[in-house]
Structure formats: structure tokens, C-alpha cells
Symmetry: D3
Subunit: 243 residues, 6 copies
Amino acid sequence: MSEKTLTGRIARDKIRLMQVPRPPDGVVERFKRLGDCTGVISDTMDELGIAGGVIGASVLRPTMPGTVMVGPALTLRNILQRIDPLQGARDHVNRMAEFECHNLATPGDVLVIQGVPGISNMGGNSAQTGKRQGEAGAIVEGGVRDVSHQRAVGYPIWASDITPVTGKWRIEAAEINGPIVIGGVQVHPGDLVVADDTGVCFVPRDMIMEVLEHAEKKARSEDMRVKAIDSGVPVPDVLKSGE
Amino acid sequence: MSEKTLTGRIARDKIRLMQVPRPPDGVVERFKRLGDCTGVISDTMDELGIAGGVIGASVLRPTMPGTVMVGPALTLRNILQRIDPLQGARDHVNRMAEFECHNLATPGDVLVIQGVPGISNMGGNSAQTGKRQGEAGAIVEGGVRDVSHQRAVGYPIWASDITPVTGKWRIEAAEINGPIVIGGVQVHPGDLVVADDTGVCFVPRDMIMEVLEHAEKKARSEDMRVKAIDSGVPVPDVLKSGE
Amino acid sequence: MSEKTLTGRIARDKIRLMQVPRPPDGVVERFKRLGDCTGVISDTMDELGIAGGVIGASVLRPTMPGTVMVGPALTLRNILQRIDPLQGARDHVNRMAEFECHNLATPGDVLVIQGVPGISNMGGNSAQTGKRQGEAGAIVEGGVRDVSHQRAVGYPIWASDITPVTGKWRIEAAEINGPIVIGGVQVHPGDLVVADDTGVCFVPRDMIMEVLEHAEKKARSEDMRVKAIDSGVPVPDVLKSGE
Amino acid sequence: MSEKTLTGRIARDKIRLMQVPRPPDGVVERFKRLGDCTGVISDTMDELGIAGGVIGASVLRPTMPGTVMVGPALTLRNILQRIDPLQGARDHVNRMAEFECHNLATPGDVLVIQGVPGISNMGGNSAQTGKRQGEAGAIVEGGVRDVSHQRAVGYPIWASDITPVTGKWRIEAAEINGPIVIGGVQVHPGDLVVADDTGVCFVPRDMIMEVLEHAEKKARSEDMRVKAIDSGVPVPDVLKSGE
Amino acid sequence: MSEKTLTGRIARDKIRLMQVPRPPDGVVERFKRLGDCTGVISDTMDELGIAGGVIGASVLRPTMPGTVMVGPALTLRNILQRIDPLQGARDHVNRMAEFECHNLATPGDVLVIQGVPGISNMGGNSAQTGKRQGEAGAIVEGGVRDVSHQRAVGYPIWASDITPVTGKWRIEAAEINGPIVIGGVQVHPGDLVVADDTGVCFVPRDMIMEVLEHAEKKARSEDMRVKAIDSGVPVPDVLKSGE
Amino acid sequence: MSEKTLTGRIARDKIRLMQVPRPPDGVVERFKRLGDCTGVISDTMDELGIAGGVIGASVLRPTMPGTVMVGPALTLRNILQRIDPLQGARDHVNRMAEFECHNLATPGDVLVIQGVPGISNMGGNSAQTGKRQGEAGAIVEGGVRDVSHQRAVGYPIWASDITPVTGKWRIEAAEINGPIVIGGVQVHPGDLVVADDTGVCFVPRDMIMEVLEHAEKKARSEDMRVKAIDSGVPVPDVLKSGE
């Protein structure tokens, strides 16, 4: 089979994987059925001895509150160019490569960008393109822009900054589908991203099934506790229910 | 009368008061009738010579914008445990005591937590339990989680952080109903909490009536000024109305 | 023509201009027709070699998301008083002058305040008065208060802080319609302010027409790209459309 | 034996211990013989599974670089008063209690203060008194002042802030010899403090001997590696020496 | 008498005073005799009801530790230019005016700059010129550079940042000898600056004698306390000595 | 010629260059003869249109003030591991590779580490080894430890953090001699590092000679200005000398 036509925005040898490893069939749907579950997944990873991997929604703020997003990570690392951006704007040489990511995306992927703060790593057209390619949405440590356009096309983003300043003449893509660091957490392509109004969890690729099964059990026990509270059991007994 | 059954999450001698002092009858309702009044109350405390006691909504952000909350403070001080949290998760020893607070709460209380940043000091089940116990809501300097659940049960929180990371194996309760510090403000159990979209005020327990009466007068004078503005009086005259 | 009656809150010689220079007729409407355009305007200024002038919405947060605001800047610089604010509250000497700005405002003006952080530089009555005077809204680096009142009267603000603490006894107005600095950007009276959910742009007064015409062209080319994306052209070709 | 005469600056029931537990004889000297050893002790605590307990010198900066300090912690927790400090200065009611700590100190103790930022928690006379009482020095999360006086009397402090602003009318002592939190680390009275130019370690009271013996072994192995480097062994072999 | 020849770096009408008001004769020497006295002066201002005016040495760090500096403030307010600095460097138009300040300085003045962070507001030649003109030194909120040169000529500076990046094409002088804000403190020309290793105090011009006399009394009482400590009086009695 | 024996701490394919490109002969000495020259070099890069590349000494603080360091960059990028560090300490698997850098170093190289904050990226043995290998010193964005040992062996470092916490079980090396980002500046292997008490400059590899020659001219003109100041020329004329 012939390889995909590339955009050329980043050298071919800086794309470490052409496709992100897929999670097992049905996994995304089962995670979604857990609802707003980043708390349960964070607890599960604690209990299974999986370190780190959780970032709060006051650090990576959702642009579309109320959304739950689940999917495998397609990773991009951006760094600052070392140029005069006004000269760059005149020369019009764009070194961003998140469109290459959209080009490579498999439906359901979550674009995860280790970006640059105070500068947009992704705008409205980019979100619209990601949406069309079937991506679930994006996680961006750094700035994004055109948030109204992004919301209008229904492409949710958890981002640390919002700013109109373009990255086109300021940022360059360093690597696609290499390991990246988001909020102090190492993320690999294919790690499962789970995001809701409370924050973002990154589940290591080879622990996805174990985390899912443990989390489903916890969620059932949580449901029992919710009912116990509703039924009026005394507070000391609530603590014993479902722990 | 026999003492309440406790949850045992915190040593009995670290609970300084079993019940928060109540504000005079009708006071909460009169404060609520003032509407979005943290500005008026802050001004009143300035004018009465009561220092500090005011924190902005960009520091303690409301999880349910549009809510006005009034009630006496039930205080909790949390500190970090000194353990490996992954070991703690295996050992499953939970040292948080905000459920003890729910247990002790009198309807109308506001739970005020001097918490730990970047870690959840209160989750969805806890909010649901607080709601059931009749609490008005909570103020948390530190993280909270399960914000969708908290909103769904109608338990408003003003918090500095939102994060999925549990405090169960990371935090321990140091004291209930002792003096605490929130945003640089010393708060005592029974101080009256007033919170709206602009921020949070803590009215010292023994100044509640004085503040209320002064604030009611100011609110009437504010109403006159609002009408003066609407009626088109020249700007220099607006400044004279109701000051 | 006789000069306006002043409020006296600031010495006459600290008001550098009694009226802000007007943008050419029809300009505000044409900018507004561009929609959520801070991204396009930021790119335009880059391409025309106009440095700086752009601040993100995660720094200056809109109090009324979904609003697009355009108008010439009426500038105010506030500084801290050096007094004991509780003494000031007793003495009741108010040194804020944003009401003088409302007094001087021409319909369509945007009040831009280089304010003091953690203290309110503008409250609900002030917003109501600004609205009545026909202002488009405000940009405040520093605190504002009474945000519910401000929203109720339909006066949008992009501000860095929200807090109930009054500036009346804490702040003094240093200058009206002098040059100010907002988010590291020098702003002059009459510079055109454009603000949306992504952030705020300040277009230098003598570049307004040039920026507008360039931005209108870019917006058309953006529209073509949006259509190209919708029509399903391959990603590498999207990048070529409309650049 | 009769109890010590107290200064009365803090209520007697807020002093949890009248004397800090002593480390075993000779332990302080053995730690001191390790030299600049916070790195070795931090590694030792990692290897023994003791979580946390280490803070860097860019957070708690030494006022007397080149000093190594070892001793058991005498703890003090300070909080902000809620008053107008200028009123407090007129009324002259001093609520700080670090002199009570000096009063209680046993020679060799290290005063560890969970203090208030931006305000002095300890000045020159206090340092001079601590020195006279035989204290080894202090660790202060918060401000200190009169650093020249403190250096002149030879009382080393690792502090986060330096400021002339007195705490006398701003701070009150909440507790002596209770658990405190320094740089996110829980510290108990009697925990062993070790501080040098690289930072501060807190060794839990009941692990002191275990840490010491392990650290002495590591230090010997470090010496061997230092010699291996000096003797010119190839870099890949350096890594194998003494690990 | 003819006016001084100006450098022309700033418009004449932005120089509010050609000479800073002098403190009474002998005052500077008497303050200097107090030694490292910012603590005493801060306390004195508290006791006399003079609000604010004190900044810690961890915010404004001394470039020459061990120095005590006293003198009246000559003020400068710098703001960012709005240009492409690389274009500015080509065009070589320098808009900084701290040399105008040196030009206007009377021996003994302290140059106090409300500067720009992360950019140099004053370099080595500038310090050398200030020294030659007889200035006591400088206070800079913002960056300075060439610190070795500055130390070599014996011109002490308390600055918040150190950086090689020039302000020549990035900064412009907005005003000389107007009111400025340093660390949240309003400073006027002629206010007395006192700086040592603990921090910086600004004494309002019309309170200089009152502060001096009060401070001298306090210093004597401090000396008594220092002796009391040395002489071994019990700690509870130390607190009573000289307060 | 056979390739160097490697330490194996990092996969061979993550070492992008086995040796850093050398600057032309004599260049390092000529830069050193310029003295404390980061200001002059920063100005030169501005004037030659070379963007960025300068970081202040209040961000990257020198561990050995008074040192001037010049040499080509050998780059290392570190990232956080995703493990429980206490588990890592038990398992004793060290993934740091700055020793591999020492192994690869050519005398005169400067090790430049894009490190991890709050954790040591380089300790005393590492500095001693770097010194032995002839390195000029290091630049570390992130923590370092054992600063006394580092000073004792005469290995200067400009670092953002100092902390005893080891990176051995917390950090892993991602790449050697790839492009890195330090303080927002993109640095490539072979870029010339110049560091003094005012800060750090990175001169792009292919601009070294041009920058040197321009800087030498500027330094001569600076000398003339220094003499002009000493000789007492009026301030307005100082500005004209040597600009």
C-alpha cells in the first residue's frame, strides 16, 4: 500500500509513526459509558500503581464545558522558532505541522500538542479540519485561537492559553508521534486520553484494558454510594458503602 | 443529650467545636435579599474598620455562576500527608475528614476548607452528602473534583483549583472548627460567608448584625443611584447621588 | 462652545484630551462584520509589520462571552494611593476617575484602564453609567466588581481580575487619555480596540484603514478555506487554499 | 521540676510540647561529618522509601552560604492576624511567639517556622536571642528581616523571603511544636533538619538512625567515585564505580 | 539662571521637576548612622500611621550586598515602545532617558525607576555616569545589565531583574519626576529612599524629620535590647526591654 | 577510526551528533577578551537582526559569580519519567545521560541542558567529570545539586533551580545534540554560549564570526565612552560619544 501524501510541513524523518496504535475495539465506548470519569480513572491508576498522568481542568481548561472526550493520543511537539516574527510574516514561511497531524489522523484520535505558551498552536480552520478527519478533539499545553469557530464546528479542546497571536511565523513543529510532556506528564502516541470538566487523564497504552476493567468496578461501587447517600444513610455509614 | 456518632476520620480532640455558632434568626435571609452583594459588604467592612476578609472570584472561582450563597462557616484545615501516594492507594487508608464535617453540619452551614492545591479536597459524593445534610455549599482554597456531579446535585463551590487527583491518600485533616486562613484571610467557625459571582466575604461572627444593618442602608442608597443613572442625570451628579 | 462640566475627580491638567479621536465613518461596522476576528487582525498586523498589540482571552477574560466589541480607546491610568484604606474609608475621599471618563465619552468609545490588580477599578454603577453614555464596553488590566450588574446592563468587559474590594479608598486616577500600557502593549487614545472570545487587539490610530482593508481580504480568503475544508479537499490541499 | 516561665505570647494550650525530642547522642556530629550532604540524604530517603521531605535552596535561600546546619526541629506555625496593621502598631499588641520558641529551645534545636510570606517572621534581636539560647539556626517559609544583624551574630537562616515589614502587628502565632507544612512537606517536632547550600532535608524522627547509617555508606561510595574521577577512569567506568 | 542643557531624550514637558527637593541638612548622615535600619524605619512608619512604602530585598535584590544607601528620589517612569525591536536596532533611535536623569541629578540623589521587566533599564555606562554625577545609587523595578561594571564603579542598585537585553530600542521614557509606583508603592520625587540588605523604604517627603527622630529613639531602644540579650537576661524579660 | 565507547544511558539513535561543531580557532579567546560582554553581544545580535537568544541572570543564576564562560553548546534534553520515584529508587534504574554528554565532550564545550524544574539534572560528581573532560561549564534550565562540590572543582553553572532531589529515578534523557529550547530560545549544538554575571547569550553557529567582529568594534566604542565619562564630558555629550 502506498504511503499517504504528506503536507511537507515537517521533515518525514521527524514523524515517528504514521498511524497511532488503536485501542481494542469497544474500549472507547466503554470508557464513555463511565460518564464524567476522570476522578474514577485517576483513582484507578493510583490503585494499580500507575504514576502521574492526570492534569486538572484549572490548568487545561475545556473550551466546551460539558463534553466528555475519549481517544488515543496522536502527539505533536512544537517549539519556538528563532526568528523575528514580523520578518517571518513578510516571508510567509509557515512551519507549523498540526495540519500534518490532521492528515495522518485516524477517526477517533485525540491530537495532543506539547505547545508554546502565549501563542496559538491551533486555530479555527485547523479545528474544522480535525473535526472533518474524525478526530475526537485536542489537548493543547499552550495557546489556541478562534475559539468561537472551534466551538461552532464542535471540536472540543482542553488548552492552557487562549490568544489571537498566530504561531505560523513563531512556532515550528519538532516531532510528530514522539513522546511528549504535558503538564509534567510523559505522553506516548496511543496512550488513551480521557477528558471531562474536571480534567484530563492519560492512560498508558499497555494498561488500557486493566484500567478500564478496574474503573468499571469502581464506577458500580460509586453508583451504590450515590444511592446510599440519597437513601439517607448516616454519614459514618456512607463512608463504608462501596469503598 | 448524647454526642453525635463520629466517622473517626480525625481524632476527636482535633474537632474544636461540635457545632458552629448560629447567626441570629433571619439574618441569612436578609443578606440574601441584598442580592449580589459582596461589593456592598466589602465596602461596609471598610467603613466599619473591619480589616481584610474579602477574596475575588478570579482567585476562588464559582463552580455554579449566578449563585448567591450565605451561611456560617464550618472550618476544616487539610495538610499534605508525607507518604508515597501509590503506597497509600494500595494500603487504602483515607485520612480526609470533610465527611466528618458533613456529619457535624447544621443545615445552612458553609463548609470552608483551607485545603491543598493541585489535589482534590472534595469530590462529587462529598458534595452530594453535604447537600443532603442541608449545607449551603463550600469554599475551598485548593482543588475539588467531580464538578459535574457537584453541579448536578446543586451544591455550589468557590474553589481555587479543579483536578481529578484524589486527596484520599495524599491529604490528612489537621483540624475541624479551628481558625483557618483562606486567601490570606483568617476565618473562624461561625463567621458569616457571603459569596457571589464577584467573590467571597467573611464577616466576623460578632459583627454580623452591624454589617447587615449598614449594608442594608448602603443597598438602598445604591438603588437610588441606579435609578438616578437610569433617569439620565448628568454624570457629575450621579457621583453625588446616594454616596 | 463651552467645555463640559467635569466631575472634579481628577485635576483638569491630567486630562490630556477631552475627546478621543474618532475612527473614519463606517469603520466600526465593517470591523464588526468580520465577526470573531481578532485572529485575522493579529495576522494582518503581523503582515503589515505592526508590532505587538494583541492580548489573549486567558489574560483578559471576557465577562460576557460571545460578544464582539469594536471602538476607539478612551484611556485611563490608575495607581495605588499610599494610605491606610480603612482610614480612607472613614474619610470617604474617593479618588477614582472612571466616572470622569464616562462623562467625557463619545458614544462608541471603549474605556481602556491600566488598572491596579486585586482591587476593583470599575463596578456596577460605573458600567451602567458607561452603558448609558453609549460606550461599547471596557478593557481593564486589573480588577472589576459587580459583574452580575455589569452583565445585566449589557456592558461587556475584558478584565484580568474580579474582586469585591473597592478601589474608592485605594486607587487614584493618574491620567486620562494619556498613553497607557495594557498587557505589555502601549495603547493611545483613539487606537481601535477589537475584542472577542479569543482576545483583544489594539490597532494603532493611523493604521486603522490599512488594517481594515487587509483584514477584509484575509477574511474572504478564510471563507474560501472554510468552504474548501467542508467540501472535503485533501488536507495537503487545504493548506494551499486561500493562503 | 517546675515548668519554665513563659513569655505569654501564645496561650499555654497551643504549645503542644515543652521540649523537642532529642536525637540520639552523637548523631548530629555524624551528620555534620558528612559535609554538604543534602543530596546524599535525599537519595537515602528515596532508597529507604521515605517520601518527600526535601526543599531546594532556590526556594529556601540560605542567608549565610557555606554553612551546614543539623538539628532537631522546634516547630512554630504563624498565621496572619485580621486587623488593620496601622491600628495594631498604635495599640502595640504583639502576637508573635518566636521568642517563646527561643525560651523553650534546647541547645542544638533548629527553629522551623511555617510563616507568612512578604512579612518578617523573625528579626535580628530574635536571631541573636536564638543564638544565645544555643539554637543551630532557623528554617522559615516566609519573610525574615535584619539579615545583617542575623549574619553578624552567626545565626544562619534558610528563608523564602526577606523584607523589612514587621510581623508584630500582622502575624499571630497559632501553635508551637505541632505538625507544620514547609514547602509542601509535613514536619514534626524532633524531625532532624539538615541544611546546606543545596537545600533542606527533614528526616522523620523515627528514621534518623536508619537514614544516618545508610547515608554514611553512600558517602563512602561517593568518595570512591570522586577518586575514580580524579584518577582518570573512562566516563563509562565512572558510572559503575561506587553506584 | 539659565536652565540646564538637556539631552533631548524626552520631551521637556514630560520632566515635571528640574531638581528634586532636598532633604534638610544632615538628615542623610543621621539616617546612615542608624546602620542597617530598614526594619526600624518600617516600624516607625507603622507607628506613625504612614501606610505602605516598604519593599523586601527578595523582590528588589541588592547588586552590592552590605551597602546602606540613603537619599532623595529622582523618579523615572519607563514604558515599552510598540515597535519591532530588530527594526528599532537598525534605525538606532534610542528613547531611554535615564541619562537625562543623570544630567538633572544633584549629588546624593537616588534614581528610582518604574521600569520594564525582562529588559535592561540601566547599564554599566549609565551607572558610571550616575556615579560621576554624585548619585547615591538606584532602585529599579525592572531589569538592569552590566552588573560587573556597575559594581566596579561602586554604584549600588536594588533591582528586580538582571538581563543583557537592552532597552534602547524597546523602552521609552514616559515621565521624569512624576509620581511612580514601585512594588505597589507610590513614590514621589524627594521622598527619602533608605535601602539595605533587608530591603527598601520610601519615606514621604514631608514626614522625613518625624520619621528620623522616631527612628533614632527606636534605634537606641534596640541597642538596649541587644545589650540585654548579650547580658543573658531571661527570654521573657528580653521582650520587655526596650519595647 | 572506531567510535567512542558509550555509557549506554541513552539509545544510540537518540544521539544526533557524536561531536559538536567547533568554532573557528581563536574565537573563544577573542570573545573572552571582551570581558563581561553579554550586553555587547546582545546589542550586536539586535543590530545584525538575529532574533532572541538572550536570557537574564535572574532567570539562569550563576553558581560562581564573577566567571565569564564561552564555548560551543553540547545539548541535552531531559524529560520526566512516568514512574513512582520511590519504586524507581528501589529498582535503581538510572536514565539520566549527562554522563554520556561528558563522555562525548570535546574540551571547551559547554553542556546546555533543557532540564526538568525542581529536580537535579546534574550533581557534584557530574560537574567534576565534566571539568575533567575539559568542559567550560554548563547552562541548565532546571535544577542542579551539590553546588559546593561543583564550585570546589571550578565548574561554573548557570541554572534556574537548586535542589537536593535527584533526577536519577525521575528524569530520562530524551535526546543528545538535538535542538533544544532554553528560556524560550531555540539552541542548536555548536551555537556559541557566552555567559557572565548579567546573563547568557546563544550565538547561532553560522553567525559567530560576524557577531564577534561587530562586538569587537562595539567594545572599542564602549571603551571610548567609558573614558569620556571619566574625563568629565557633560552628560548630553556622553550620549554622542561612541554611539
